[in-house]
């Protein structure tokens, strides 16, 4: 038994992972995703894997179950779990490993639960398939885990279907599903990234306590250093499939050795100086109340805000607070029931059909998901050229010249005009969307979570670009986000929304200065801070619960 105790639970040696990609119109290419990474996890310890997308952290995490998504395959190295090389066990050996010794919690629990099955059936499935316990034992254990993870009415929670519970609850249920078969190792793959900050904190605490109480070891994958610092014993920083730095959590966040780690530690601490008032607002939203058809609840209640020319109003709140509905009301996609909007001194028709071409041109929008906001069959030049043709009638070389000007403005330069969206990175796609909205020479751009889907460093680039463009073009932004770091970096004024109402509104310096109302306090205190013990402190000092968990 001494032998067993000495061996690490997970021992990955010189792991190499490749994938075959099929770029449009070219020959298939083989890319190396992970270049010889080694790591070990001891029993009962938590190792955090951190890096930007493309760093290979999820790929490495899944390799501990010998699993590769799509065309991803392990081409070199050894992976030992409990002293056994799992790459040599065959299909049967892998089935014995997965769901029994190693389990997995994904980023999107909402997509990872089968919509056609009750939660309980899915949570206990692995325990039953591997013959680890009887059905009644498994159900009793699941109920115990539901209770431990703070799920409402744990006795009956499992009777529900996935669509009947919230995102935060699903994420906890997935954690329960991973812990139910009493595994030795759980791979957490960005388990709180898709959640609101206020919900994230609860789920994070639940996961942390569950790990502590069950004594399970874990690989915790995330791009958010502040989050991983709360749960892991050690942290490994990865970039482009290579190890950058590996050390204790304390060492990584307080005494980083590598430049890249230092960049990660210092990111998101930007502060944008508030601009002085510029007189007449470009948009006045006056007492707008709106609801969706078929749902007899006001999604927006008496919302009044103003934006001055060349300024940024940040609208913050958790999902379901009505932020995006406000954008839909302003753009005319959801005509308000009551209230009015004054744009550039003229009254905007509530209904989209009643707006002039000028109204449409001066009010543009950028979306969270750049990939789905562009026609995949059109080139960048066509996408950006469309508003130039539609609003200004530009054609031929004149149009091409203007497209190139816009591309220069978004710092993408030559060679991009003929590309298709699929050939661009996430940040580049968002830049093209920005150029498309700028092409209309708008007075106001509504930015709906435009940096939420991007890595921190890429998001920072987009925010800086937006600030530069605002200086040059004097365009105003209505910036919808749930991320307070982003708000600090870009806003001049802030509206905090909660359950369809604006609960706090004013200049940035006023909104972010105490005394706070309870909700703003919750929101501000929920933003992960990069120091040890932060999570416990916040939980101990909370005044109210999040609405969305």
């Amino acid at each position: 038994m001494r032998d067993m105790a000495d061996k690490p639970l997970l021992d990955i040696r010189d792991l190499k992972i490749e994938a075959t990609v099929y770029p449009p119109g070219e020959k298939p290419k083989t890319m190396t995703l992970v270049h010889g990474v080694s790591l070990t996890v001891e029993k009962g310890k938590v190792l955090g894997l951190i890096g930007e997308s493309g760093a290979g952290k999820s790929t490495i995490g899944l390799s501990s179950m010998a699993y590769g998504r799509g065309g991803v395959r392990i081409t070199g190295g050894e992976i030992f779990v409990n002293g056994r090389d799992i790459l040599k066990g065959g299909a049967q050996g892998l089935r014995e490993l997965r769901g029994k010794e190693v389990t997995y919690v994904s980023q999107s629990a909402a997509a990872s639960f089968n919509p056609a099955k009750r939660l309980m059936e899915q949570v206990i499935e692995a325990s039953l398939v591997h013959g680890l316990m009887s059905k009644s034992e498994a159900e009793a254990r699941a109920v115990g885990l539901f209770r431990k993870l703070g799920l409402p009415s744990p006795e009956t929670f499992g009777d529900r279907y996935p669509h009947q519970v919230s995102g935060g609850q699903l994420q906890r249920a997935m954690t329960a599903m991973a812990l139910c078969p009493k595994p030795d190792l759980v791979v957490f793959d960005e388990p709180t990234t898709a959640l609101d900050v206020t919900t994230q904190i609860d789920v994070l605490m639940a996961i942390k306590e569950a790990i502590r109480d069950t004594g399970v070891a874990a690989l915790y994958i995330t791009h958010d250093l502040a989050v991983v610092a709360q749960v892991s014993d050690d942290i490994m920083v990865l970039r482009h499939g290579r190890l950058v730095e590996w050390g204790t959590t304390d060492q990584i966040i307080n005494k980083p050795r590598e430049d890249y780690t230092r960049a990660l530690v210092s990111v998101a601490s930007h502060e944008h100086a508030e601009k002085p008032s510029a007189g007449n607002p470009v948009l006045k939203v006056e007492a707008v109340t709106a609801r969706y058809r078929s749902v007899p609840i006001d999604v927006l209640k008496n919302v009044s805000v103003e934006i001055e020319p060349g300024h940024t109003l940040a609208v913050v709140g958790e999902s379901g607070s009505g932020k995006s509905t406000l954008a839909r009301a302003i753009t005319g996609l959801l005509p308000p029931m009551r209230g009015q909007m004054i744009f550039n001194g003229r009254k905007l028709s509530n209904d989209l059909a009643g707006r002039t071409k000028e109204d449409l041109r001066e009010l543009q929008m950028i979306y969270q998901m750049a990939d789905v906001a562009m026609n995949p069959r059109q080139t960048v030049a066509t996408i950006i050229g469309r508003p130039l043709e539609f609003y200004f009638g530009l054609k031929g070389s004149e149009r091409d010249r203007k497209v190139q000007e816009l591309l220069d403005q978004i710092e993408m330069g030559k060679g991009f005009a003929d590309r298709y969206p699929a050939e661009l990175s996430g940040g580049q796609k968002q830049r093209v969307c920005i150029a498309r909205s700028l092409a209309a020479r708008p007075k106001l751009i509504i930015c709906d979570e435009v940096t939420s889907a991007l890595d921190p460093l890429v998001a920072e680039g987009i925010l800086n670009l937006l600030l530069d463009l605002q200086k040059q073009e004097k365009v105003a932004y209505l910036f919808i986000t749930h991320d307070l770091a982003t708000v600090r970096a870009i806003a001049d004024s802030i509206a905090v929304m909660y359950k369809g109402q604006v609960v706090r509104y004013g200049a940035k310096s006023d909104v972010l200065a105490p005394p706070f109302d309870d909700y703003t306090d919750l929101l501000l205190s929920s933003v992960p801070e990069l120091r040890l013990g932060w999570l416990e402190e916040v939980i101990a000092h909370r005044k109210m619960e999040s609405a969305g968990n």
Partner: protein, 318 residues
């Protein structure tokens, strides 16, 4: 009211409305044919007086709209009218024929539906490997073969070469159940071959589509066997598209089997319809058309209802 009940009630009333519209179309269509029933009965050489008398007697000189409602009213009371060619009551005639058609369709469906879904599941399990290619290849070959060719080939093999079945599939009331089954074996085989490929390929495509989902990955990471994943996690989410194709094929088994019935001399609806079209027996054609439309609409509504019931979001609202 439970939203599912409301949805189903909506579908049912839509179906009835559609059926009413079809009845109008059928009536108008036959109305537009040159000549009328009186002409058809008396033939080309009939005198004007004779025609007028007969029209009077049959109520044909009344406006079309009155006759439509008389016709519709009769149908609602189960009276489909009288056949012109043999003066028999259409309802009783069709009753027996429809029974035969449904008997044939039922057995063809009972074999082809489970077979198609099973083969679809297997094709997904061995995707792009030889079992998948074999299943796709064979079913595509059988669907490409016209029914009468398949029918005659089977007939040659199984009745001439090896004397297993009878080439004539006519069934009578006096036959025992086993005798009837034996008689329809050949047409059932042909029908199975015809409808198999469509359902199998749709099952395969629908499940493959679901196999891309994140919850399939979850199932794989639980260490489940591939066939368990397909049957337990993928198939329940592919029911809606599969059911739609199955119902289309079932409808075909009821309304589209004319050729097979003729080839095997089977006394079903198709043959009955074709016989009376050649005789210009308008009331029979109208009645058959309406019944076929009802079967088609009914099966499609049934498919809709199953799709609704298969959706947990509708079955268990928040």
């Amino acid at each position: 009211m439970h939203p599912v009940v409301k949805l189903i009630a909506q579908r049912l009333s839509l179906g009835l409305l559609l059926l009413l519209a079809v009845s109008v179309l059928i009536f108008v269509g036959t109305e537009m044919l040159p000549g009328d029933v009186a002409q058809a009965i008396l033939g080309q050489s009939a005198t004007e007086t004779a025609l007028r008398n007969l029209r009077e007697e049959m109520g044909l000189n009344q406006p079309a709209i009155t006759r439509y409602f008389q016709w519709l009213g009769g149908i609602l009371q189960g009276d489909l009218g009288t056949a012109l060619s043999n003066k028999k009551d259409i309802a009783t005639e069709i009753g027996a024929r429809l029974g035969n058609t449904l008997f044939l369709a039922f057995w063809a469906a009972a074999i082809s539906v489970p077979l198609a879904i099973g083969l679809g599941l297997l094709a997904v399990r061995y995707r792009n490997r030889w079992p998948d290619k074999l299943i796709s290849g064979v079913t595509l070959a059988t669907i490409s073969l016209p029914e009468f060719v398949a029918g005659y080939i089977l007939m040659y093999l199984l009745t001439v070469k090896f004397r297993i079945f009878s080439p004539i599939s006519t069934i009578y009331d006096s036959m025992s159940f086993a005798q009837k089954l034996n008689a329809i074996a050949l047409p059932v085989m042909v029908l199975v071959l015809v409808v198999l490929a469509h359902m199998m390929r749709m099952t395969r495509a629908a499940i493959l589509n679901v196999m891309q989902s994140a919850y399939i990955e979850t199932a794989e990471l639980k260490g489940l066997r591939p066939l368990t994943i397909i049957a337990r996690h993928a198939f329940p989410n592919a029911i809606a598209p599969v059911v739609n194709v199955v119902m289309l094929n079932l409808a075909y088994l009821v309304v589209g089997v004319v050729v097979v019935e003729v080839v095997f001399v089977y006394p079903g609806m198709g043959q009955y319809l074709v016989d009376h079209v050649t005789k210009r027996d308008v009331p029979v054609v109208q009645a058959c058309g309406l019944i076929f439309a009802a079967v088609y609409i009914g099966l499609n509504i049934f498919a809709d209802v199953i799709s609704i019931l298969a959706n947990p979001r509708l079955r268990h609202p928040k």
